[in-house]
Symmetry: C3
Subunit: 354 residues, 3 copies
């Protein structure tokens, strides 16, 4: 299978039916929806990584457009404000020549009390083949998927999951990590408000599957419940270590990757933290704290950043910061995801179909 | 005249100059604007229906796109929130290869006190050939049409009119009605808040013109003024019966079509109803009430639904519900309307012009 | 250099390396960004005018589209509500076949406290080659330009500048002025709330550079600081006269052009005016006041208008009003600006590259 460019030149994508991997599973994308990574196998994740390589090649062209999803309707249905994720999916879908419709909840009839299911049925009847959905309630995309004949991509639901973010994080780590893309035994720290973070939850699936030595670090109030997950995960075969701590020094020491999480001001009404200032003093990713990590450690952040709170301005633009790479890779990863999901639904075009 | 597909294949549209119909009027679209159905003749409505058939064929293609409106600027200017109507027109216009611009009033300079007429002049000067407009004030699209050199399509104005909705309702009834598309003598019930409903008002024109036996049913406070319309309409030659009642049993008995209207919570400040709960108990379309209608009666709703108020969840997804068909047909009807209005303005492309 | 139409026909643009003008500067566009006109030379302004002529020819075609910016990502990042400027840039960019992304601040993550610089870095990483930016804070586009690898076009910043508006004003004056495009010695009056007007500030640069006899007129409280600018400007070689007055009769007498400015209600909390009614009585552009100007004087307004305040309804639609021409020319001027800035960045396509 290959992606034909508008001018007829094509590029080769990884074969969708590649030989079984060491783990025995075939490297074939087997899901109609992308709701979270808990049901995505490691060979499937590797297929996303390889497909993203091909999409990066497309992005490097003077005209970064291929006809793969020509005639496919992609509706971006966001019930929460977003710049980067919304635009990233929009650009990705347009690069694949899909027909994109944006629906922002604030200006839609959901303000009139329409049920989510009714909205999904309507969006389908209006011609959507794929829905990219962000919603403030955990699980909402699952409900959507039950009632939608096409594919649902979760663009973030409540505290639950943000799978495309975790995949772009993984892609960025594998690309930039000194010593190569193999994460087995490499120390990855997720630092901050883990409790409210869908980014952290999705990353836990992909990073432990990659074999990383995963540390979650933050105030104890913002780690509640993760001890149990860590304990349960420890016994999974082929998975990396996974531990939880409030000791920021222990967490950062010799880390290969440090991912700071956004302090969600708008979700912190419950008094889980004394103040942003105290958070910054105790857990903010400063140059001093970064010095505990390996000299070539990567600095990551899903954005948008509160500079001076969870990350200092100097660290945000540090030479080891790959925060901008995360954004750029996000477009390529989302092109890959749209492409693979469309392929699973028999919707992608053959090379000559451009 | 035919619609050429991007790949050169074309389809045949109904001839715009077809022979005179029984009523003597030529089946030719004669209006620059579509503001309401009161001035649209039955042969013109039939032309919309046949053109919609052709557009449905386009929608069934792998790539549902024709170049009919290439180079035509369509501005969707909505002063009220909307999902389905806004997206429906947007998809319809893009399927015809028009250049679409969205303007949502909340984020536009109308919040700065600019007059409607000034906005219309500006939109025209920015390159719009057609404006699709929704406005909270009845008659606003008429004012717009007076000052716009192109075509105005009313996407809903105050309580006054929603002509494209009435046409998609008619198309859906004709397509799905057991016994064929002829509505003469068939009993159609519009149930609910008729007073505040632009959907009801536009449907009254098209359904009586189609010869239907039209019943409006709801609380007496929400039917005020329609008795007079019904009395006046009774004498129109070739038109169906038209009556008004608060007796829901009499209205629904042996109905061929039941169209439940949305209870406009946001417009009900005036104390016209005791409560939503009481409305649901007395007039909600439940399975029990639906059993009064003919066994093959169609269930319709313009959306968005308040399930549990004007329609029960079971009826909303009942096998006889054609609510989703209404949405799908809406795209095709709006493609037909944009096409016919552009044709009246000499803007559609010849087949070879694709 | 020429612009190739999609069907292969091309048009000729002014040579980018034209012979030196009288002033000695080469007529070549030398700026990566367009932040204000203070650093743009007169030969460069004339190059914009000639390029706009070419773009007007494109706009006159049945399909007003050229492939000049195919593959170029243009992000329209507006932190303030706007209809005309936002849509004008959007239509301009699409006419040049750019890939356009709209970001409205109200629905973006800037509401989550993200810094402007972080947003700019993100927009760049998402694929933007050019950013059109409107912001409530004077100077914000300069900050953006420092951190963006592509080109920034200022679509209005605080009270500071609105360069594309000044250029479309200049183009409209030159096109419509009785007696030809040479403004040397022609009397141009900017009337109203000069203090809060970015439109006025940018027009001062271009109109004095054009050699016009420029008068600023309004209540003394709304002219503060401009006396000094006028005094400093008087000595610039090759520039026209520039004076400031609250005497509306003296200002309008024998004027060739009268540009009324919007009274920014939303910015007038500081008690600078007693009331809108008094403003209208003393400075509103009425038919009586217009009679003081030359019989063929042009009436202009940047919009949106408060009719009955700074301009009477009769004057707004007066035969000498060129307010609608300003809007139409705005699309052509912005096509020219996007084209020239992209050319300076090596991004425009050769004719055969369509």
């Amino acid at each position: 299978m290959s992606l034909a460019a508008p001018d007829g030149t094509g590029i080769h994508l990884p074969a969708v039916d590649s030989p079984p991997t060491a783990a025995g599973a075939p490297a074939r994308w087997g899901h109609r929806h992308l709701l979270d990574l808990d049901v995505v196998s490691w060979p499937e994740i590797e297929l996303v990584m390889r497909t993203t390589d091909a999409m990066r090649e497309v992005l490097g062209r003077p005209i970064a457009k291929v006809p793969a999803l020509r005639g496919t309707g992609v509706t971006i249905l966001f019930y929460e404000a977003s710049t980067r994720t919304r635009v990233s999916f929009e650009v990705a879908a347009k690069n694949l020549s899909a027909d994109v419709v944006n629906i922002a909840a604030a200006s839609s009839s959901v303000t009139k009390g329409e049920s989510l299911v009714d909205t999904i049925r309507t969006v389908e009847a209006l011609g959507a083949d794929m829905i990219v959905m962000r919603h403030g309630t955990s699980g909402a995309p699952y409900l959507a998927a039950e009632h939608f004949a096409g594919s649902v991509l979760n663009g973030g639901d409540g505290w639950h999951a943000h799978p495309s973010q975790a995949l772009l994080d993984l892609y960025t780590i594998r690309e930039r990590l000194a010593g190569g893309p193999d994460l087995r035994g490499r120390k990855v720290v997720i630092l901050g408000d883990v409790l409210h973070s869908r980014v952290a939850r999705s990353n836990i699936w992909s990073l432990t599957a990659a074999g990383a030595d995963l540390w979650l670090c933050g105030p104890a109030t913002l780690l509640r419940g993760f001890e149990r997950w860590a304990a349960a995960s420890g016994s999974a075969p082929g998975h990396g270590r996974f531990q939880v701590t409030s000791d920021v020094t222990a967490a950062l020491r010799d880390a290969d990757v440090v991912m700071a999480l956004r302090i969600q001001r708008e979700r912190m009404a419950g008094g889980l933290l004394p103040s942003l200032r105290e958070y910054a003093a105790r857990f903010g990713l400063t140059l001093d704290r970064l010095a505990l990590a390996r000299p070539d450690a990567l600095v990551m952040h899903p954005g948008p950043m509160n500079e001076g709170v969870e990350i200092s301005p100097e660290v945000a633009v540090h030479p080891r910061s790959v925060i901008t790479d995360q954004v750029t890779n996000g477009v390529a990863v989302r092109m890959a995801l749209l492409y693979l999901l469309a392929g699973a639904a028999g919707r992608t075009k053959e090379p000559s179909g451009g």
